[in-house]
Symmetry: C2
Subunit: 771 residues, 2 copies
């Protein structure tokens, strides 16, 4: 880079993605309830669906070549909703289209405020010239609201016409809607109206019955003396003005998005109008301010600051923003793998929401983590039902879902991935530990861990070896399936069982109300203590699953670059019987279940699995970064940090067109804070063991613990802990106690040198970190 | 039974199946090329599809909820063909329909000649009375031919009209054919004509392009003085006569069925006409005689005679007939799981054709076995292609198929069942050993075993324990999947490797032509000798797969009768992680790979697995019978023999409506001949160790060895071996050599008593043999 980057803004030109669809994903603004991808205001040329709502899904039949008992009959798919925020521009009757090659066309995502700004200068074929600036955000203060400000300034005399809220143009009603494809999610129009300053629509998803309502107000401002003509009809509004040179016309569009299953159209529209009424007295600046205030709090306490890599500085802020945008408004709906930046994975939520994203939000936006985790709690009935179908007690969280129902059509890598339930349980306990939110503990965490523990206690079996075993399951690595004693699954199940025993002993009354007996608690404790962790004594390596290290090693030398991802060129039966990892599995366990491994064991396991891990999943690099940093392979950790932080900002071959990889972005925070910062947690609180990446001169990050906030500043030789809010923080640094109080708000400790323990392990050929 | 059964005929009334569809399956006549289910001549009321051809299939798209690399995109489904043999009867303009309740209506399957006879007496609503007799068979002498003789005899004066060949009534051509359902196999009419004495049709399967041609001749005979009027038009023929009391009208219908992919309509019809021309000079009796002659040979050398159980005597003959009907005309098309008695399993061929049916045909109709096995050889190119998709060398036979392409849509119980290839290899070697057919050995067996051995040699891996392991596969038991070192698979793979080493060393020139080097042969031999067979030292039990005996045992006590089959009420994930067998797996290995088990081990394994085996597959009882007989549980063996022999003749809850269970019927022969007869084979020939079931006073069966035939007569104390044809038989009886020659054609040996080795093992509650 020859000129300094602005570490708070992401210009479209800096997004190294050739496809407009991928850039539309990267430039999405979202609040977790509603998201607007980086579509152009005028919606053409299209770059995939433009507007997504977490609550707007349709059901799509799942068909099986060979059906069997308990297979989900349908999948919940996110369905795009009306682009009610769009604005179409005509100048001297020429409709603007970016393919007309305006003199200037720039878009920039403001990372500090999560606003997408667009600036363009255009000379029409007739010679009129205008400058256009639009700003767009999805309010983090009022999740139903998307806001657009669209301003046209004339350089020459120009007749300017704006058409806001185009979503019911040509759509007189449901009766004339085309018959939808039975295998695709679909919305049909039920109602649509433009009446003066307001426009409204109601759509209904064909099979799920979910209704979506959108209502927008067109607030028009103009330079003095400009006459604005409102026109249009029942299905379109036009705002036209003749501008003299220098005059301007501005449209401010608050659009309210509401949705829900089993909602009547009238009620929905009333909700949407109430949202608009609630902001009737608030102008653009006020609405932007309250939105930006949420982010100001995020950055104040949660920013990660890197001294020495501007590109990564911007990327990690982008990553934190993705977690915030996915989680902030996720109450009742949960956090999706692609956020609301695309329809990839059918818009589903997976375990990474709990394991990758929620822990970041615990520190940068705890309300967002809690919104997601309370949604998990609210879906316990579906998880209980699913457990029954699988022949299990307690609750089994789905592999992929929108409302909580299992939507996976391939159970060996879906329902068999029973770690998903432990991942939720661990996340709720972590949230309770970090926030010290006693209400959450009693209302949410206890239910989840008790139901999860019951599931694992019934799933496992006691072996003749005196160990507690879990047979026939699939761990995070999807190039294996249905193995016995997956180490990750077993260790996470043991944590769950331990948390359940711990919480029920701390909350005896609430436990009793949930039918937990002392015997049941004791059984959980025993199973947790006796959990089987397969180990290869000869190699000194934790086995991914029983017998795993005996399997043949994949012939990596035979693979060409175009053969990746391997599941696109090899049959599962071949992958499954070889040692080849789509993503880190034991290494992930070495991070999350850190106390089950000695430091030396973590090194040996990383050394062993690194040459077997192809990272065909974007979930892989973050735990590899964390464990590499912990054991002393700092350059490797740094390479993985860069890979994960830049995942969608560069074209590394992973699909970005259908949405960004939210968990991988959260993983950048994790790589820096849990990797180089060494953050771990246990029921007794937080533990740090920082070290500086050689590529940086300094690294700082902010954390929360209960009502307090603090920052950690790492230099090559020291770590300084500084209380930034709240009464008190107690943590450990390199195992030593650190206490911060208003009286002694800052403590500096030496950072232990962390030499590499040996030669850095190699990846499979051609699968080196995309640093 | 109060009156003696005719052990050579099966009246419809003796078929204890309530549904007409099931009885239509049981009463099917077939020759393995074309089959006519027990539909009524007039085709109403319908009882499922009526006519099936082994070569008539359509392609049906396979859709996956989550597609992946190497999943078959379509499945080959058998598609019903025109019912060109049907005859519609009108008397005094009243169309006959069995629902009009004729005074008499009886159908009987003649087991000796495979002819379905129907007799009915009917008084029309107008008072006319006729007696009708029809006979139907699918010629075992000319596989294209279905023959019907339909005779009407008037008791009163009656105007009788017959309409043969109704298959193009109302079908003027393909152009007006309805649009077929994209997810179902479908034939459309391409041509149809009635011209005087002949009728022809051509149909085309919509997606596979397979064309089916049928041509029939209507040969009319009548009592002296009866005037027969031919009428009708281009799409229908009518034959009408006014009969005086006692006069008769008879129609003999030879119908030729031809089919093939990529065949032009003209060529097909020419083929069909040529078949008809070939029988132009042969009357009904001559055609029936040449057909019955094939069966006469079957019964002369292959009959199994039971003294003491008339019901089972009839059933075992029915069973032998099913194997013959499925296999006789199977050249180029193979043997289907349901024969051509129904469209169950989509008409597919599975491993049981090789493992259950072909070995029976080796002795009762060797040409039928060879027809099937040569078809397997002809499909080697598809098996090679499939191996490549699975990342394997050599050839991998499909789990289910019609033309040789994999048609399974659930790979963990499909392509992962790699034993299918060993099953073919073992069957071809067995056929070569039994027939001593050197041409077959060189032309078929060598190719199959070499390609199969190459597949297993590449699939397996050498473990640090010095053993050769096969990971992540599925054995015969479908309530387990993707386990390591499935004992059955490994033992059958080892046999394949051994056969490959043996045959290539016996045929060095042919082996060299196939690129087999001494090193490759040596590697096969080493792998075969070092094959891993998982064993539980503590229990003293062969494990179904590595770690299998460690799995939790299924909670059988919780299952109600309606919960069976368990895959209809439990998720695979639950079944797979428990010890519960759909069908015998280790016990099957103890039969087929008999020399890998000591007698004591077989007993221990049977004792262990019997309480875990629910027999939700009809393939289970036969090997259980065989091994139970071998180890001395003779009553149990007898109970399983009855269960398998009577499988479709009683309603035991298994589906018969979509076809009979051909392999289970072949299994009745196996239970008697390999179970009580003790027949085993190895490359040195045949070995017997007979014992009489306590329920019988005598048992005899016929076997073949090379050009010779012999019978074995078992009494409570002796076994008598008698040469019935050919030059010489050498075998062992209880391990002692027996030689039969024309000079010494009969040898009697004592039968060793076989006391039960202990208490008879129990099955899961409610899953006792259906004896």
């Amino acid at each position: 880079m020859t000129r300094a980057l602005d570490p708070w803004s992401l210009p479209e030109a800096a997004v190294q993605q050739p496809s407009p669809q991928a850039r539309a994903s990267v430039l999405a603004v979202s609040n977790g309830w509603v998201g607007v991808r980086g579509a152009l205001d005028e919606l053409r040329p299209a770059a995939g669906p433009a507007t997504l709502m977490a609550a707007a899904h349709d059901d799509v039949p799942l068909t099986y070549a060979e059906p069997a008992y308990g297979y989900p009959s349908s999948s919940e798919h996110l369905v795009p909703v009306p682009d009610a925020w769009a604005v179409q521009l005509r100048v001297d009757d020429h409709p603007f289209d970016v393919r007309l090659e305006p003199e200037r066309h720039e878009r920039t995502l403001d990372l500090r405020r999560a606003v997408l700004r667009r600036e363009l200068d255009w000379t029409t074929p007739s010679g009129a010239r205008v400058e256009v600036r639009s700003d767009r955000f999805a309010s983090l203060a009022r999740r139903e609201l998307v806001l657009v400000q669209y301003e046209v300034r004339a350089t020459t005399a120009a007749r300017v016409e704006l058409r806001p809220f185009p979503c019911c143009a040509g759509a007189p009603g449901a009766a004339e809607a085309p018959e939808p494809d039975p295998d695709r999610p679909a919305l049909v129009v039920e109602a649509c109206a433009h009446d003066g300053e307001r426009s409204t629509t109601v759509h209904r998803a064909v099979r799920s019955g979910v209704r979506v309502g959108a209502a927008g107000v067109h607030r028009v401002e103009a330079a003095d003396g400009v006459q604005v003509h409102r026109g249009g009809g029942p299905h379109v509004t036009t705002l036209a003005a003749d501008l003299a040179p220098g005059q301007w016309l501005r449209l401010v569009l608050p659009v309210a998005y509401v949705a829900g299953p089993d909602r009547a159209a009238d009620g929905l529209l009333a909700d949407a109008r109430a949202v608009l009424d609630g902001v009737a007295d608030l102008g653009w600046d006020a609405l932007l301010d309250e939105h930006a205030a949420v982010l100001a709090e995020v950055w104040e306490h949660g920013d990660v600051v890197l001294d020495g890599d501007e590109e990564l500085q911007r990327a990690v802020r982008y990553g934190i923003l993705q977690a915030v945008q996915a989680g902030a408004g996720s109450a009742d709906v949960g956090i999706r793998a692609k956020g609301l930046t695309g329809t990839g994975y059918d818009g589903h939520t997976f375990w990474d929401a709990d394991t990758y994203v929620a822990p970041v939000l615990d520190h940068v936006l705890p309300a967002g983590a809690q919104a997601h985790l309370r949604w998990r709690h609210a879906t316990l009935p579906a998880a209980r039902d699913r457990a029954r179908v699988l022949g299990l007690e307690g609750a089994a969280y789905p592999w992929r879902t929108i409302t909580g129902r299992e939507s996976s059509g391939y159970w060996p890598a879906g329902s068999a991935a029973v770690h998903a339930t432990a991942d939720v349980a661990d996340a709720v306990v972590r949230h309770a530990v970090v926030t010290r939110d006693e209400t959450f503990l009693r209302e949410v965490a206890l239910d989840v861990v008790v139901e999860a523990a019951r599931m694992y206690a019934g799933l496992g079996r006691w072996g003749s070896d005196g160990r507690f075993h879990i047979d026939g399951v699939t761990g995070p690595d999807e190039y294996s399936a249905l193995l016995d004693d997956n180490a990750f699954t077993n260790l996470m199940a043991a944590r769950t069982l331990r948390w359940a025993a711990l919480l029920t002993s701390r909350l005896p009354q609430e436990a009793g109300e949930r039918g937990v007996t002392p015997d049941e608690r004791a059984a959980w404790q025993r199973a947790a203590e006796a959990i089987a962790v397969p180990y290869d004594d000869e190699l000194g390596v934790t086995q991914q699953a029983a017998r795993y290290t005996e399997l043949a090693v994949w012939d990596f030398a035979a693979e060409r670059p175009q053969d990746y991802p391997l599941h696109g060129s090899s049959h599962y039966s071949a992958l499954y019987r070889h040692q080849v990892l789509k993503q880190a599995d034991v290494v992930m366990a070495a991070y999350l279940a850190h106390d089950a491994f000695t430091p030396e064991q973590k090194r040996r396991d990383l050394d062993y699995y690194e040459p077997l891990t192809v990272r065909d999943s974007s979930l892989s690099a973050p735990p590899q970064a964390v464990v590499a940093a912990e054991v002393g392979y700092l350059d490797l950790a740094w390479a993985y940090t860069r890979e994960t932080a830049l995942v969608d900002l560069r074209d590394d071959g992973r699909p970005t067109a259908d949405g960004v990889h939210v968990a991988a972005h959260a993983g950048a925070w994790t790589a820096l804070v849990a990797g180089f910062g060494g953050l771990r947690w246990d029921d007794d609180g937080l533990h740090l063991r920082p070290v500086l990446p050689p590529a940086l001169r300094g690294l700082s990050f902010g954390l929360r613990l209960g009502p307090s906030t603090f920052r950690v500043q790492v230099t090559p030789t020291t770590a300084t802990y500084r209380l930034t809010g709240g009464p008190r923080v107690v943590l450990t640094h390199d195992g030593g106690r650190v206490e911060l109080t208003p009286a002694v708000p800052e403590v500096t400790r030496p950072v232990s040198p962390r030499p590499a323990p040996g030669p850095t392990p190699r990846q499979p050929p051609g699968r080196e970190p995309f640093a």
